[in-house]
Amino acid sequence: MPTHALLELREISKVFGETVALAPTSLTISQGSFVAIVGPSGCGKSTLFNVIAGLLKPDAGEVRLGDSVVTGATGHVGYMLQKDLLVPWRTVIDNITMAARLTRRVTAEDREEARRVAEQYGLGEFLRHYPSALSGGMRQRVAFMRTLVTHQQLLLLDEPFGALDAQTRLEMQQWLLQVWRDTDRTVLFITHDVDESIFLSDRVIVMSPRPGRILADFANPLPRPRTVADLTNPTFIELKSRVMSLLHGSNA
């Protein structure tokens, strides 16, 4: 498995009032990997992301990115949620360059890059459209491009396709894999969909119910590139049944 640690969480924990959202958790993510996180609702997955992104200060522990400690600081990750959070008053190209606009002046290069990315990944015709004109899948693609052009090495995707229907979702997954291959980023990907977690990742992390901690950390042996056929491939099914039995316990 990969060689160089990009992100390192050391004994992160977080409590909200009486709710222990995150039990002390450590995790190391290597550069360029695609790591999926699954776990029951309310187990602290989003809390984990918020801590990494700097939106929440952990009660204890340290977040290291590359060589620096970034606990509680912002501005060092790309972030994307189930809600696309596109702003309706900006065109597609302006939504893609939004991170730049929020921190500095948008340059011609920013726009050029946004255009290039949009064209490359099938939204070239929609640059001047407003988000309201796009389908759910297209909107999530724009949201992802916006995340991409932040040039952050680490991308946190929190159920990005959770609101899409199954077929669109499958298309988006394939699209995401293509983009990831092209752009050499490190992805942390939260999902409730076990198929999705396996289809996309190098590594599947399963979390326990609240208070959240890491139950298991599976390497995903499925070769790349992957196609829809892999969803019924025995290697896939085997990993799926292991993950499901952890998630659903005696039910399985």
Partner: protein, 280 residues
């Protein structure tokens, strides 16, 4: 869209035309004396026939309306933002804001003039008094409903509070803001007229009307009322126009110079009010 536009221009005009017809019919059928109520045409002629006298007065009223509108809008925006951002300010000012509107504005005009003198100021203050309220309330409500995940996302990107406010929160509030502005615009002229009655240099549309009334020149009374109403409606429509221009995403698929349009309006309280700009 073409048929829609035509339709949406024609129907309001037809319905206003009907209003005039009803008026004419009542006056004729009940044989109403001219000093009680004029015929529509007489009312209109009393304006057109005295245009050179009325024009400067109209300009004066428009000026008061516009200045007051801008002051009220600015105050409303400021107060709305302050109340949304600082809970203590909201706690402290909300009751005052409410009470300000429950005070019968006509009881307020005279003291204001005594305090502010006989300039344009008291008129502007009265207009602003009326206009700021819907703006404040709508901006406050709008800002309170900005998607906090969007604000968090901006923070993740490393945006400052100020940039987040300007680039995210303010545009996200545009729709309620314009609703407030439209309501304010519609009532602004009423404020100007109340102010003119109280703070005249003897030269105002409101006094002209008052005097025409003393003169039993009922045609001029109705005529000037129509003029005042038109000022109000015109200013309202102007704000609607600015909204349409400033919020193209509400009805367009593609940024300006694109071709396709969408039928959805975006304004709230006055959603249905975008006469001439809706397709049915």
């Amino acid at each position: 869209m073409k048929r829609g536009l035509l339709f949406n221009l024609v129907v309001p005009l037809v319905s206003l035309g009907l209003l005039l017809l009803v008026w004419q019919a009542i006056v004729v059928v009940f044989n109403v004396a001219p000093y009680v109520a004029p015929r529509p045409l007489e009312a209109i002629q009393s304006v057109t026939g005295n245009w050179s006298i009325l024009w400067p007065l109209i300009l004066g009223t428009v000026r008061e309306t516009v200045y007051g509108f801008f002051c009220g809008a600015a105050l409303g925006l400021l107060l709305g933002v302050a109340m949304a951002k600082i809970p203590f300010v909201q706690q402290l000012f909300y009751p005052v804001v409410l009470v300000s509107q429950a005070v019968p504005i006509i009881a307020l005009a005279a003291p204001l003039v005594l305090i502010l003198g006989f300039s344009i100021t008291p008129k502007v203050v009265i207009v602003a008094w009326i206009v700021f309220f819907p703006v404040t309330v709508n901006v406050l409500d709008g800002l309170n409903h900005v998607d906090q995940d969007l604000v968090s996302l901006a923070r993740v990107y490393g945006a400052s509070r100020w940039r987040t406010f300007v680039l995210i929160e303010i545009p996200a509030t545009s729709s309620p803001l314009f609703s407030g502005l439209k309501i304010g615009a519609m009532y602004a002229v009423t404020g100007a007229i109340i102010g003119e009655l109280a703070a005249g240099d003897g030269n105002s549309l409101a006094l002209y009307q008052e005097h025409a009334n003393a003169n039993l020149n009922t045609a001029a009374v109705y005529g000037t009322t129509i003029v005042m109403t038109i000022i109000g409606i015109a200013w309202f429509l102007l704000v609607v126009g600015v909204e349409i221009w400033a919020t193209p995403w509400q009805r367009r698929t593609v940024a300006r110079r694109g071709l396709r349009h969408r039928g959805r309006g975006g304004a709230r309280l006055l959603d249905g009010a975008n006469i001439g700009a809706r397709s049915t």
